[in-house]
Symmetry: C2
Subunit: 460 residues, 2 copies
């Protein structure tokens, strides 16, 4: 059944768009980088700003403390039965290297492009712009209906970009309040050709930091070169052997739980006509480097990875220093698929690295989050309803897609709160999330809010 | 023939030691880090300070401009024939990591230790303290004789720690002025057991910086992981294959020109009873990592090396960032022995690295100096005379040793100016040159100056 007032809500959203953009820009101006302790105050300010917005829209909203950055939780007036939980995150990625930004990352601006106007700034897409599509849909709904959709719970996190250490404890401590019949998450993208999409499988993520230590001080390579162990060399040796010549990861039992695509999904994905070389050409590359024999979408959605995200050691300033450094560091992450077990893979990785460390050197590991892949059960009729609503808004059939990125909370919702999640997002592949010059199309923002109004009309 | 006034000169040096230490401390206070452009002014100040000292001692001294940091050149009154050229360097290594210093590196102080008093600070040993032993010997000589030893030329460089880019052009441009019968360099150490030593072979040094570039921006490992090339991985793959499982370097023809030890030198080196494990234990290590089957002294004096001196790429701050970086960098150096050719080895290294770089990525190389090993002809009777003078000062027989470090100028003196070089230095293995907490023993400084007075008495 379609809400008879839906058109009014959509018109209201269109009329209010300039104000909605102003609100988003104010939100983006708060540099809420959760991984950098220097920005702790900014992260809190973003939570406060969001809470104020939600109250203005009519929610009962509050900041809820955690061991780390706070949660923002909001409720619309109660309904007879459990209904929907919406999730987003108000923290953003770091911005370095800063010199590659065309405008300061926290001074957002609107730019006209051949593809239409965009909003440029850190978090415009991931995830401030995306979560605000839902908030704006609620705002218009309230304006038209005089009240919010009943039974909505909203949960906003401030640690998504730094491994969500407080999320699971928070879900466990607030199970009754947060358990609903279905979750909605707006942190994903449209299909590569721009059509609306629901992500039904997301890769998991496991992060590890390694510190290899050798001598108790930096050494002169003239006096000690040829005798003393070099921690950078040890690190390179350990990391270069993570993959074989076919791009396959060499850790024992690593592929346990990785499933080949179902025939249905393979057909859907092939219909997307993804061209890996064309996709890579947008960032100046050409050759897919994944396991030989896999399609591009398999590599990025259905295959696990091992990636070195950062490395440092020795002298890295201008000029040259013939030093044998006392230590070297690397940050390594694995994207996981199917039912791969992050606990077992972490252990296998540590064993692998330790085998390269001589007995007179040491290695130390730091854990940076670990969550399995999330694979949705799409037989719930809400998936079909949401797919239909999206099709109506965008005038194109919506598709089920995979996601290379990790939204571990979808798995947590299932495991802890017993809910499936519909992952709907409006980002585009060229949004440069996590990179300099992040942007969000005004179209994504405007039609995203309209999409949520349509989905709410079907699901409430 | 021994100078009858030698004892007077030695007594004068002993009496003036406190003043000599004060002068050295003033020199060390100037932070003349040549590799860091932020210290260009300090490097110039150090040249000025040294020039003033030399004039005070009675030399005709001046600062001579180059394309980089200046040279300081000084002459004593002319002699009938060409005589001696003394060389040292007034620049110092960078000081990071600063937090590992017990006192600020450019605020030198005297400390009492179980091995006697030491002077602590950057450059106290390498090379300000060492070069000042010669200047102080000249100062005492002048005080006693009323004039300096005739026919001395002194040359001090300010770019030794950053690859000496201006040295060869300067030698070539001033060939007549600088060509003497013999060169003296004070930038080496005593034998491990403390006895005086003359270094008769030094390893060469070849420095390379590599920049591997992939995508034209940093990428999100969720969106691109499994598809896009990772420059850190490429770098690790290239660098981990520089050595085989026996510690032997894999570049083609790399060992061309590496000579096994002569029987005489092998006997001399064995007499030093060098214990590699004990040597390494002083810096917290134990296992020599050089080519299997080589003695410790061979590894560090007579075998070439390949070392990664620095590496950087991706996110290296606090926390975690799931980035695929646009670029990664490494600094790599090779210590060379025998007649290994730096030009051929540079080309072989670049070929090796380039083989790991996919066609859609790029690699860029930056040259940081390259000089072959220096092997002296010890049949010149001046070597025997210097050895005898050292034995008289230290009451122990002096020895011919090798050096793991590089003093490319010894090779340049031979090639450009036609001179052999006697390398005499008084540093100890535990001086921590190039590391935090560099020091120079007061004994090294005091008896070093006395040693030069004795050598000058024999050679003038």
């Amino acid at each position: 059944m379609t809400d008879p007032k839906l058109d009014e809500v959509l018109n209201r959203l269109d009329a209010d768009l300039p104000n909605a953009i102003d609100r988003l820009m104010a939100f983006v101006r708060i540099p809420s980088i959760s991984t950098d302790p220097a920005h702790d105050g900014d992260v809190f300010d973003a939570a406060t700003w969001l809470t104020d917005q939600l109250r203005e829209v009519g929610f009962a909203a509050e900041i809820r403390e955690t061991e780390g950055h706070p949660m923002v939780v909001a409720h619309s007036p109660e309904d007879a039965e459990k209904t929907l939980l919406f999730y987003g995150h108000y923290d953003v990625q770091p911005v370095d290297p800063l010199n590659l930004w065309d405008n300061p990352p926290f001074e957002p601006r609107i730019e006209d492009t051949p593809d239409g106007p965009i909003i440029r700034g850190r978090g415009t897409s991931d995830d401030k712009g995306q979560l605000m599509t839902f908030v704006e849909a609620c705002r218009a709904w309230k304006a038209v209906h005089g009240e919010l959709p009943r039974g909505l719970t909203l949960l906003f996190e401030g640690e998504e970009e730094s491994g969500s250490p407080s999320l699971v404890p928070f879900l466990e401590a607030n199970r009754d309040e947060l358990s609903q019949s279905l979750a909605l998450i707006c942190d994903t993208g449209r299909a590569a050709d721009g059509r609306p999409a629901i992500a039904t499988q997301l890769r998991g993520l496991l992060g590890e930091e390694i510190v290899v230590r050798g001598a108790d001080r930096d050494l002169h390579s003239g006096s000690f070169g040829g005798l003393a162990a070099n921690p950078i060399q040890i690190l390179c040796n350990a990391l270069s052997t993570l993959k074989d010549e076919n791009g396959r990861i060499t850790l024992p039992d690593f592929y346990d739980g990785v499933e080949d695509l179902s025939d249905d999904l393979r057909r859907d994905w092939e219909a997307l006509k993804f061209d890996a070389s064309e996709f890579l050409s947008r960032v100046g590359l050409k050759q897919p480097i994944g396991e030989k024999g896999r399609t591009g979408l398999e590599m990025v959605w259905n295959q696990p990875t091992a990636e070195i995200n950062g490395i440092s050691g020795g002298y890295t300033g201008d000029g040259f220093k013939t030093v044998l450094p006392a230590e070297a560091r690397a940050k390594v992450s694995f994207r996981l698929t199917g039912t791969q077990d992050p606990v077992k893979i972490r252990a296998a990785f540590r064993d692998h690295v330790a085998r390269f460390v001589p007995t007179d050197c040491t290695v130390e590991f730091h854990e940076h989050g670990g969550s399995p892949a999330a694979v949705m059960d799409t037989s719930d009729p809400a998936f079909a309803a949401a797919k239909q609503a999206l099709g109506e808004e965008w005038d194109r059939e919506a598709v089920f897609i995979g996601m290379g990125g990790s939204i571990p909370i979808a798995g947590d919702f299932k495991r802890i709160l017993g809910m499936d999640t519909i992952l709907v997002g409006f980002a585009k592949d060229d949004d440069r999330i996590h990179s300099p010059n992040e942007k969000y199309d005004v179209e994504s923002f405007a039609k995203g809010a309209r999409s949520w109004a349509r989905i709410l009309a079907k699901l409430r």
